[in-house]
Symmetry: C2
Subunit: 307 residues, 2 copies
């Protein structure tokens, strides 16, 4: 048995709680938000069901403890996972408190989707055990976790951290060069901007954009990435042929990616209303249930065809 | 029984042949490239196996005829699908020949991933039956087809075309406003640019970019789109909360999307070499086999959880 401290228990933090607990870790949870305990319990109940369908052996579940203060959460923890809102100031403040309250051998990991570890590690006395470990929602099912070590981290500790993440049945991706947004969110940000323009200019609704993704390239990307897919698009001659054929198209004045739409109130309302229409009467919980059942099906399907 | 004319039988055209033939259509194929017949036969063999695993009733297969001239391919055809290389000049020339050689009631569809129907329809005498029907590789498995009618197309014909595509077990997405790259390729183009920068700047290799996609958001997008996913990321408060939380992040100077990397020979070689390393000893056919088995698994999994 091992103990993790989860600091911040919104959607992502609660997902980490489930990921740890269903791998047999005890979890100590600190989040001053009064709704966080309900979020964690709801997330764990959902995760228990779906992770149970995915794994072959029975789940061995650790103990959850909700605590009132951060020092209580950190007591005897062997892993700290910070999942606070994306504010540098807030993260810097809390991370330096965590640093002061934990043994210097304990890995401190931030779930930040955007900030570099060298930025968030600035106020730490022992930044050589600080990492970005950026997961993806739902954290208890999506295997990817981007691991970006602080520049002072030793290779041995990086190896240990990756090994622990693998024990949690995750697929750690070592991001070798610090960059805002790491890797996945750079790509997501690009899609997001372009999608916003499509909505903004009334080319498509949110539902149509989603249909274009999930009935098309989303099905490819669940099991092959961009480059693998395009390699196949090049036929027998592979990637070189693809690049020769489609490289020049990059020069076409297609996209408006040079600019960011003004996120004014009317535009935000437009997106949110379209999203409401798209969801219809489905509650968030119903959507999440369906997502999880789908993901389990996909992951099982992929493991059956795995070499 | 119905007859389709497939003009141009590379990767996409051959995929259309399989999509039509395995839905019981006879297909007349014209492509002067001497390797196209082998491409079609190989594609059809692969499709037969995988589409067979996906459908519940036995496949009813139409007859293929490879012809030497375009008029032979068009004879008695009730659907024309053009899948030539992405050159406006070439497509304009061939489409106007097709227009002159077919009854004015027959839909003429282009597989173009980028050009608008009003551009490609310029030389047609009867553009009111001209569509972009943009499919996704592998055409015989991926359900999405973007349907962009020429501005002069009547609603009744659009409805007929969508109905035929549904009979082919596809999911037509009517793109209501003409735009270069339609919808999906706008999004793909955005990801592609950003991915190229990541490779260019040595932040990640092609394999690492692919891992970031397929172990992460690719698994989400096989069954939910961008907006549905982000709605869940907003928790109970949905899309408005998500936009309030992450909208401002769009203003961060994250990405280099304002610029296109110079696709010089060295950069193309870098990408192609990384892609070779990534593929290892797997042949294109082995990769395609694995992709198809995965897709069938995913699609079956998704249909099992369908409401």
């Amino acid at each position: 048995m091992t103990t993790a401290a989860v600091i911040g228990a919104g959607v992502i933090g609660a997902g980490w709680v489930a990921r740890f607990a269903l791998s047999g870790w005890d979890v100590q949870i600190y989040d001053p938000n009064p709704t966080s305990q309900a979020t964690v319990q709801q997330t764990l109940a959902r995760a228990r069901k779906h992770v149970g369908n995915l794994r072959t052996e029975p789940l061995r579940e650790g103990r959850l403890t909700f605590v009132e203060t951060m020092p209580q959460a950190l007591l005897s923890a062997e892993w700290v996972q910070e999942s606070l809102p994306e504010s540098v100031e807030l993260k810097l403040k809390i991370l330096s408190e965590i640093d002061a309250l934990t043994e210097q051998v304990v890995p401190i990991c931030s779930s930040t989707s955007g900030f570099k570890p060298s930025v968030l590690g600035e106020g730490l006395g022992s930044a050589e055990r600080f990492f970005v470990c950026h997961p993806f929602n739902p954290v208890y099912l999506i295997p990817l976790v981007e691991v970006v070590p602080h520049p002072t981290v030793a290779p041995e500790l990086l190896a240990d951290v990756k090994s622990i993440l693998r024990d949690l049945e995750m697929k750690p991706l070592h991001v070798r060069r610090e960059i805002d947004g790491h890797i996945a969110d750079r790509l997501l940000e690009a899609v997001w901007r372009e999608a916003l323009w499509l909505i903004h200019d009334d080319v498509a609704t949110t539902e149509e954009v989603d249909a274009a993704i999930k009935n098309g390239f989303g099905l490819r990307w669940a099991q092959m990435g961009l480059f693998e897919t395009y390699r196949l698009g090049g036929g027998e001659q592979g990637m070189r042929h693809f690049l020769a054929q489609f490289g020049p198209a990059l020069q076409w004045p297609w996209s408006k990616l040079t600019d960011v739409p003004n996120m004014d109130a009317a535009f935000i309302e437009k997106i949110a209303t379209q999203s409401d229409d798209q969801a219809g009467t489905d509650s968030t919980e119903e959507l999440a249930e369906r997502r999880d059942a789908n993901l389990v099906g996909i992951l099982r399907a992929l493991s059956e065809t795995d070499d």
